[in-house]
Structures are given as C-alpha cells and as structure tokens.
Amino acid sequence: MGETISLNLNGEVREAKAGLTTTLLEVIRDQLGLTGAKKGCNQGVCGACTVSIDGKLARACLSLAVNSVGREITTNEGLTEDGEPSALQQSFIDNGAVQCGFCTSGMIVSSHALLQDIPNPSIDEVRDGLSGNVCRCSGYRKIIDAVRGVARG
C-alpha cells in the first residue's frame, strides 16, 4: 500500500497511505471519504475529478498522491460553507444546473477558480473556463447561467 503521507486537504491535515503510482483521486475518494470528485475517465479528459492544488486546477486522476504532499488541496466539499451550499453551489441549484450530478463537483471546483480570476465573467469566458469539464446531461447553458448568476449576486 506504500508509505504514510500527510495531506493538507480542505484546510485539514489528513493522513493516508500511498504508493508511488497511487493517484490523489484514489486517496481522497477511497481513503479519505471525499467522494464528490468522480472517476469518469481516469485519463485526464472529462474533468469530473477536478480539484484545486495550491490554487490551480488539477485532474486528481492524473495527480500522484505523493506529489501532493505539502500543497493546499481543495475539493468541492471544501468549498461548502460549514456543510451548507456556498453561493456558487446554491446558484447551481437555483439555475437547474444539476442533472445526474456526476460532473457537478468538478464543475463547481472549476467555476470557483474561474470566479477567483474573473469575478464577472462573460458567457464566453465561462465557456472557456469550463472547457475541460464534460457534462453529458446538459447543454452547459444552465451551468453557465449558474456561474454568471452568482457573479452578479
């Protein structure tokens, strides 16, 4: 199973076991119980596993757990406010931006990062920012509305 590592996850220090090839996605999902990030492709394409590492978006399925030591990792669960929906998460609810929900955590992490960079994004800026996140249920329109909706308050 490999060595014990210590991760800075959603503002808490969490210990896990990781071998050299263990991905961050496996660690956070299987050992640390944070299952918002999903394994949709395990290949870095779908974006369902998106997390933020040191403020940058990352594919948890392509990130090695051992390389994540000493960095600030934030998952969708870490964006909630005391377990309650954040304004962004609430905007996903209010705008009907959730269907099956499998892409949702990844979408929210990407959208959060986008809003940090561009507080009032245009439609095309949101499309750009979410271009690495696949949603097979929607046509993205309501997701874009959710992101822009929270920006406009």
């Binding site: 999902r29 944070l34 299952t35 918002g36 990030a37 999903k38 394994k39 949709g40 492709c41 395990n42 290949q43 394409v45 779908c46 369902a48 998952t75 969708n76 669960e77 909630t80 377990g83 929906p85 998460q89 609430q90 996903f92 609810i93 209010d94 009907g96 959730v98 269907q99 099956c100 929900g101 499998f102 892409c103 949702t104 955590s105 929210i108 439609i123 949101v126 499309r127 750009d128 979410l130 271009s131 690495g132 996140n133 696949v134 949603c135 097979r136 249920c137 929607s138 046509g139 993205y140 329109r141 309501k142 874009i144």
Partner: protein, 771 residues
C-alpha cells in the same frame, strides 16, 4: 377529478422548482455505485476476449488463483447454460463455448482489492480457435456467412420474431399501396443514408455491488435505469428465482439507454455467490466502451413521392441495422424505427421494412431516440431536397403535410394530443426563419420535425400516509438525473394539494417498490405519472371517507384544500391530514395506502388500416412532437461545421416542471450535436479502435452554443397526468436532420452519411465546385 384541472388552477404542476436531489449533488455528497461499500467487500475484475469470433477450447486459471488476495476465479465453465434478453433470450452472463465480439467478458476474478483483481484477471489463460467473423450486417446476411448463434431457432422469444441464421429480426409495416402510388407522383426522390455508432457516454461508468446474505438472499445495488430489469436479467441468466434477488439503486450518473438492460450485474452476483462475500465491480471507461452497448449504425433507403404542389403521396423506407453480437433491445429499436420512418406526416401510401442482423460487434441497443434519430435524419433531409426541387419553403412544405388533428400515426394509432403544427409555427418565428433563409450569409439554417413516443408497458405507484399526515411516494422508477423524482413528487403534490416537502420519494427497491419497467422510452412522466395520479386519488378517496366521519358529512360533499386539509364544500368546517393520519393509525380504519398500477394498452397497429409483420411490441405509446431550427457556420477552408444556435418548440402535453423540460432540451441538443458532427465509434477489423475519451470526443462548452431557445408547447394528452407526456428523447431526434439541412443551406452540400465531419463537408464543397 384532479387530473382534469387546467393550467391556470395548478398548485404544484407547471412550476420550475429545483430538483429534489440537487442539494446533495452540489455538496458532493450524493452516493453513486462507486461510493458504496459493504463490510469485508471484495473487488471484481474481468478478462475480455481478444477475438471477435472464436471457439473457447480451454481455460487455465492456475496462475490467477495463486495470486495472493485472489478469492475466486470464474470462467464460462462455472456457469450453467441460462440466457437473458428483453426480446430474444440469447445472452449468458459470460461467454460460454464461444466468444462473439472482441472485448466480451470470458472470465472474472474476485480479490481483496481492485488492483489485485485486475492483475489476476490478466493471468487467466484461454485457448481459442478463431472463427470467421461477420463485421457488417451485409456480410452477416450473405449466404454461407459464419453464424453467431447456432441455436437461434431454439431461443425463447417474447414476440413472433422473424429470425434465421444471422437475421435477428425483420419488421414491416405498410398502409395503402405504395407500389401503385408512385404513378400518381409528380416527383420521386430516392436516396441512401448512413449513420454511425454512437456511445452513450454516461459520465458514470457502469458498476454493481452484490452481497449474499446468510439465508441466501442476494442484495444487489447497481447503476441502472430499472431495478426490475436488473432483477429479471440476473435471475434469467443465473437461473435464480426472482424472490431471491433484491435489486436497488443508488444515485445514477446518467443513463441514455446504456443502463437499461444488464451490464456487469450478473458477473458481480456470480462472484458474490461463489465467494460468499460482497463483491463490487466498477468498469473502467475503456471496459464500459467495449462491453456495454451503443447506438445502432443504420443504412436507410428512403424514397418519397409527392405532387407538384408539394402534397405527400407515398413513402417507402428500407432499413438495415447492425445489431451486434446479442439481441438486447435491437428488435425493439428496429420496430420503433420502422414505425417512425414516415415521420409526423400524412402519407396516404407508406411502407417501411427492415432487418437487424447479428454481427461480431458489441451489442447495439437502446439509446435516446430508439432508432428514431436515424430515420428522422433520412426522411427530413429528403424532404428538404424535395422542397428545393419544388421551390417551396421547407417549413411551408412541412406545414402542408404534417398530421392534422384527428389523423392517425403510420400504422393506425390515433393521436389525441398533436401540437406539431404549432411547433412549426413557433420555431419559424423564434428563429427568424424567413429573414435568415432569405439572407444567405455565412451561416445556414435548417429545419427538422419529428414525432416520438412516450409509453410502453407496466408501472405502478404507492402513496402512503405517514403518522403525521405527510407522505411517502414509491414508484420504483429510477431517476437517472433527468429529474423524475422531482416531477413525480410534483404530480403527487398536485393530486394531494400539499407542499412538495411533505412528500418523500422512496428509492427504487424490488422488495418494496411496485413494478416499473424502467426509465426509458420517455415514459416515466407519462406512464408513472398516471400511476401516481391514480394512487393519489385512491389515497384521497380513503382520506375523504375518514374525513366524512370526523366532519359528519358525506364523502361526496368534501373537497381537498391546499396545504393538506379536507373541508365540506361551501362550508368552513375542515379537518387536516394530520388529524386523519392520527385517527387512522391509532383509532379507526387503519393507515392510508393508495395504490395504482397500469400497463400501456393503446394499440400501435390498427389492422383495418395497416399490415404489420414481426412487430416486437403491440402497444408502444402516445406521441410527443417537436420542431427545431439549427444554425451552423461552415469554415470554407477546413470544411468544419460548427453549431451556432438552436430553436426548439416541443409539445410536451403539459410541462410538469418547465425548467426540467428545458434541461432535457439542452441535453438532447448537445448529445445530438455530437452525434451529428463528430461522435463515432470506429472498429478496425473487429477491434474498437477508440474506446477512450481521448479518442472519442464528446461535446464540451467549446462545441455547444449558448443560444438554445426553447418554446414549450402544451397540447394536453387526455390520459396523461395533468395532460403531460414525455420529453426525454425527442429533443435529440431532430438534431442531426436540422444540422444536416443547415449545412446544405450554408454550403450547398447535401450529406447523406453521418457524422458530418469536416472532411465530408469539404469534399462536398469541392465536388460542387467541379460540377
């Protein structure tokens, strides 16, 4: 009767409330199959066939069995010869005796962890003797072709299948006399169209978790569109009584047909039975691509004859489908495609017939639209060619020929709710059709219309009052993300006149839920919605009976009042559900349980009008209608067509939740756009060449335009719940045809083969320049 209220009076119906499960999903807390665990759980993995068609000579499992952590290895020899299948029972839990497509599961392993299971599976040695392959329906139907199912004649079939050798099913419907009718036509157009295989690509890969209790009862959780189809399939192919299997569902990461019938559940149950420990199997994306199912490739010969003034006279359609290695839903898809071949038009003479053949490909099966997107592409592209030849505007030509009120669908079924004319008029205005058609700028616009069914088979609902007067609604319908839990709750709340938060929706469970055939065929809102209304009415009858005692009145003089009250009509006296619940639980009568079940029973074929052969279903559904305009831009250098906008008008009878209807339109558009422009599963000599998301592209934000305009048209379906009918599939059906027609408008190129790749568009442009 509650079901007869009109839109204006509705209390919960017609409101875009958020989905009841949206909160757990945005918080990242919703549990899908991959999240479930049981104590002492093992992981399963499978070995897949390296050949498309081969006899299995021998297995050697010793190396795999020796691996530390491996608990059990199963091969075809460990399975009895039982078969499953919704139409033709031709498929075992695992390959036995021979393999019929590359990637087919041939052996499986359960081990302490996933890595060990996957590594051990690769250590299983199987000796094969290769057989000749058939890799297209044409090759499959040739005399002397290698036969996939030598015992086809003996297989159990649920309908009178016309099947022989590699012919899986033949279906034919005809009305009038097409052969004679061609003489009456001023213009006859005949073309051949081709469509490709599309992967469902539900973002969640398929998976299952099975556990055998000490008394032998099996608990089975899986990603599915029907806990009941899972139960039936597992029991059929493993020879188990259905009373031994309890099938349940966690949240499902979408299903567009791929999770309707079995995927990995039978193997997972077999491993759990063999090890007496819980076993979980989650497919990798590649395995999901290679072993689950996909949309049928079609070849379509379509011939249409019309009068000079544009009046439609006759249509003949001939279909040839690749069915893949197992029948699955193929006979149904062929049947529906045949029925939809004529579109929402009145043709006095029409004939559609076709074959689906077994081939050494992955099984093709149900996929949003169920054969309709393919035939709609052909028919609607051809109608545009006719409009061009006659010099008639494509919308005018359609308005002249769409089914009028009272006209029947092809085959003879009556159509009660028909908003097709209005749909066409709406998109003409919303898309600014007349202007855009005239000013042929860079972009092109294209129209397409369709009808589709919503219906099929059996469903039920139980509405149970709790001790405090709130309710549990139990239907057994799996919410695959489209929002049926929310819609059914709204229907129930409307019928009971109570707020949404006083109803809890039970999760589907074959031990506890009434039968529900499945979340497929755009059927849940319409059929299950009807059952919910019936069950709620049953509960209301009982509530009124008890209220009559309390209020010292007659039940007939009572009315429901918003918020969970029963009152005497015209008087102030009333009693709350809370009081009725307390009384029935603790004093008089017993707790209130309302229930209702039904099976869709309107005949599809009217034998007085039409002749049908080999139809796999007798009662398919009521009709939903849509019209859409697509706008595309063409890059003249690369040939790349990109979608720039879409305008929809969809007749859904009554939108129970307009926001969710829009969600279905958006999603159907995006999935249809990918299908039209670039999605394609490609086989290289029996091997699927692109089973990854790297190599199989799906639409992202860069490809799907933001501008999707949706108009909801409401022509109430008389027996639908509050007038509603389904919407899930039709939103995709019209997309390829409208995009194809837009490409023609933009570039003058008429494509008859999907997808409309840059290469095909460019070749068309070049050819047009030469000629």
């Amino acid at each position: 009767m509650v079901a007869e209220k009109t839109t204006n009076e509705m209390y919960q119906v017609g409101k875009s409330i958020p989905k009841v499960d949206a909160r757990e999903k945005v918080l990242g807390r919703a549990q899908y199959i991959a999240e479930l665990t049981r104590p002492n759980m093992l992981f399963g993995a499978m070995l897949q066939s390296p050949y498309a068609h081969a006899r299995i000579i021998a297995y050697d499992t010793t190396a795999a069995e020796k691996v530390t952590g491996v608990k059990c290895v199963l091969t075809g020899d460990d399975f009895e010869d039982h078969k499953m299948g919704p139409f033709i029972k031709d498929e075992g839990a695992i390959a036995k005796g021979k393999v019929r497509y590359m990637g087919e599961p041939v052996a499986c392993v359960a081990a302490e962890d996933e890595e060990t299971a996957r590594a051990a599976a690769l250590l299983i040695n199987v000796e094969y003797e290769e057989l000749p392959t058939v890799l297209s329906p044409e090759a499959a139907l040739e005399a002397g072709a290698a036969v996939l199912h030598e015992d086809l004649a003996d297989y159990f079939k649920v309908f009178e299948a016309i099947a022989e050798n590699n012919l899986m099913s033949y279906t034919e419907i005809s009305e009038g006399d097409v052969d004679k009718a061609w003489d009456e036509c001023d213009l006859i157009v005949e073309n051949v169209y081709e469509t490709q295989a599309q992967n469902h690509l539900s973002l969640e890969p398929c998976g299952a978790l099975a556990e055998v209790e000490p008394d032998g009862l099996i608990n089975l959780w899986s990603a599915n569109q029907s806990v009941f189809r899972v139960q039936a399939n597992v029991c059929e192919c493993l020879g188990l009584p259905m009373s031994r299997v309890r099938s349940m569902t966690p949240k499902v990461g979408a299903g567009f047909g791929n999770k309707m019938e079995a995927h990995i559940q039978p193997l997972c149950v077999a491993l759990a039975l063999a090890t007496k420990r819980p076993v979980k199997m989650i497919l990798s994306r590649e395995e999901d691509f290679e072993t689950v199912r996909a949309r049928h490739p079609f070849k379509i010969r379509c011939k249409t004859g019309v009068k000079k003034d544009g009046t439609f006279v006759a249509r003949e359609v001939e279909l040839l489908l690749d069915g893949g290695a197992f029948a699955d839903d193929s006979p149904g898809v062929l049947g529906n495609a045949t029925l939809m071949s004529v579109g929402p038009y009145h043709f006095p003479h029409a004939k559609a017939f076709g074959k689906v053949a077994y081939t050494n490909h992955l099984r093709f099966a149900a996929f949003r639209g169920f054969g309709n997107p393919q035939v709609t592409f052909a028919g609607e592209a051809q109608i545009n060619d006719i409009a061009d030849k006659l010099g008639i505007d494509p919308i005018d030509l359609r308005l002249k020929n769409v089914l009028a009120k009272g006209q029947q669908w092809f085959g003879g079924q009556k159509v009660d709710s028909n908003g097709i004319y209005e749909c066409l008029e709406k998109v003409r205005v919303s898309s600014d059709w007349d202007n855009k058609r005239k000013n042929s700028g860079e972009n092109g616009i294209g129209i397409s219309v369709a009808g589709h069914i919503s219906g099929l088979l059996a469903t039920g609902a139980i509405v149970r009052m709790l001790e405090d007067g709130t309710f549990v609604l139990n239907t057994g319908a799996t919410d695959i993300g489209q929002g049926s839990d929310t819609v059914l709750t709204q229907i129930c709340a409307e019928a009971l006149q109570i707020p949404i938060d006083r109803i809890r929706t039970a999760t589907p469970d074959t031990d506890a839920s009434p039968y529900n055939w499945g979340t497929t065929a755009s059927r849940v809102t319409y059929t299950t919605g009807r059952a919910v209304v019936g069950a709620a009415e049953d509960a209301v009858r009982q509530i009124k009976d008890y209220a009559a005692i309390v209020l010292e009145s007659l039940a007939d003089d009572l009315e429901l009042r918003e918020g969970g009250m029963v009152g005497i009509k015209g008087a102030n006296k009333e009693v709350s559900f809370f009081e009725i619940a307390a009384m029935t639980h603790w004093g008089v009568g017993g707790p209130i349980v309302g229930s209702h079940t039904l099976v869709f029973d309107q005949s599809t074929i009217d034998p007085k009008r039409a002749v049908a052969k080999g139809m796999p279903f007798t009662n398919i559904g009521v009709f939903t209608f849509a019209a859409m305009v697509s706008e595309v831009a063409i890059n003249q250098v690369t040939g790349k067509a990109s979608a720039e906008g879409a305008w929809y008008a969809v007749d859904v009878g009554q939108a129970i939740n307009p926001g969710l209807v829009e969600g279905q339109i958006d999603g159907g558009y995006a999935q249809g756009l990918g299908y039209a422009l670039f999605e394609e599963m490609i086989w290289d000599d029996g091997r699927l060449a692109n089973p990854t998301l790297m190599d199989y592209k799906v639409p992202g934000t860069a490809e799907v335009p933001y501008d999707i305009d949706t108009t909801i048209v409401e022509h109430p379906e008389p027996d639908g719940p509050f007038g509603a009918k389904g919407v899930g599939e039709i939103t995709l059906v019209t997309v390829p045809a409208s995009i194809c027609n837009a490409i023609t408008h933009a570039s003058g190129v008429r494509l008859r083969k999907m997808p409309f790749s840059p290469e095909r568009v460019l070749n068309g442009i070049i050819e047009n320049e030469i000629t």
